[in-house]
Amino acid sequence: MDELISKTLSHLFISLGGVSISAVVGITLGVLLTRISFLSAFVIGFSEILQTVPSLAMLAILMMFFGLGNPTAMMAIFLYSLLPVVRNTYTAMRGVDSSLLEAGKGMGMSRWQLLFLVEIPNAFPVILSGIRVSLITAYGIVTIAVLVGGGGLGGYIYRGTQTVNIGMILKGAIPICLMAVGTDFLLNKVEKKTSIEKRGK
């Protein structure tokens, strides 16, 4: 039981770790791209290609550089999460109603104030939905990462499939499914709550 709990926690933390890095880098990159928009097609195109690479292939290639273990898993999560976070940040920031920006400028906000008081709060639900997608993908990657020496619940599933032990497979599968479904449900709720359109009604 202790092992199950510790594996569940490490599954969660590896995923959260990778997505957090990607959130910090991705949101910054997304915001920067709105200021230097000629780069956006290039950056988003590149992360689109990254996203297309099959996860097992990505993990295996990364393993060649980062060795066996969790750093490889986190790196893969980071790379996969980049696209949803960058793209959602970029499009959401550009989608902020220009009258809000004008109102902000008109009230004498500085560029930083405009960013933190107007643009990011308005873009937040869409950015969050990028993070939600990333996190759910991350659970899957951590599961597969057992093949490159990662920790987490994938080990149960892997051993279970090798020995055709359904109990073992379920031991890994159930917590992962609960985590994925729970995350989807929870973050969807937060998205709806923070969405400006809904708030008004």
Partner: protein, 212 residues
């Protein structure tokens, strides 16, 4: 790495075999997925209330990681290509189903009113108005689905289905980087090329009047 030519020569047969299996599996899964998902998606647009529930259900299924799904399917269906195909088909359905449904149901109402008012029956409306207008959305669902399926087919090696994943898996187990690359590089290239190809198809399939 200097003996790469020799390595390639020695493993060429294995590689071609794996690539063939990978292509066959992915292609069949997506093709069958299209045959199931497009008609179902169209049907759902006729029952919007049921559609919400069905899509939510399939959405939950989509959050289940691929390896978990393979792991769950194996004790039920056994080892081999059949298991892999079933799981891959299930996965290929969702993006296509969702895009078919939203593509059609988000067609502006004016076109539907105009089509009905001019005396099109349900089938004519579907063929002349709904499918042409939703076409690019449906194709981008197929694009997404194909990329996912190529990725998940690599994992199908776990349930003994073969494919490029087999090479990667063997490479990892034996610390053979050349073997890893022999699986990983073609799998990645295959995914990227498929995505580009379908993207291009979507563009030429878009009626000229909508391409602005």
């Amino acid at each position: 790495m200097s003996d790469l030519p020799i390595f390639l020569q020695r493993n060429w047969g294995t590689f071609v075999n794996a690539l063939g299996t990978h292509l066959k599996l992915s292609f069949s899964a997506v093709a069958i997925g299209i045959c199931i998902a497009v008609p179902t998606g169209i049907l759902l647009t006729r029952f919007p209330k049921a559609a919400k529930k069905v899509l939510a259900g399939v959405g939950v299924l989509q959050t289940v990681p691929s390896m978990v799904m393979f792991g769950l399917a194996m004790p039920l269906l056994g080892i081999g290509i059949r298991t892999a195909l079933v799981v891959l088909i299930i996965y290929s359905i969702l993006p296509i189903l969702r895009n078919t449904y939203t593509g059609i149901s988000e067609i502006p109402e004016k076109y539907i009113i105009a089509a009905r008012g001019m005396g099109m029956n349900g089938f004519q409306m579907l063929m002349r108005v709904e499918l042409p207008l939703a076409g690019s959305v449906i194709i981008s669902g197929i694009q997404l689905s194909a990329v996912y399926i190529i990725s998940w087919t690599t994992i199908a090696a776990l349930v003994g289905a073969g494919g490029l994943g087999d090479l990667i898996y063997t490479g990892i187990m034996t610390y053979n980087y050349s073997m890893i690359l022999l699986g990983a590089a073609p799998a990645s290239i295959l995914a990227v090329l498929t995505s580009l190809l379908i993207g291009w198809l979507a563009r030429i399939a878009t009626p000229r009047g909508l391409r602005m």
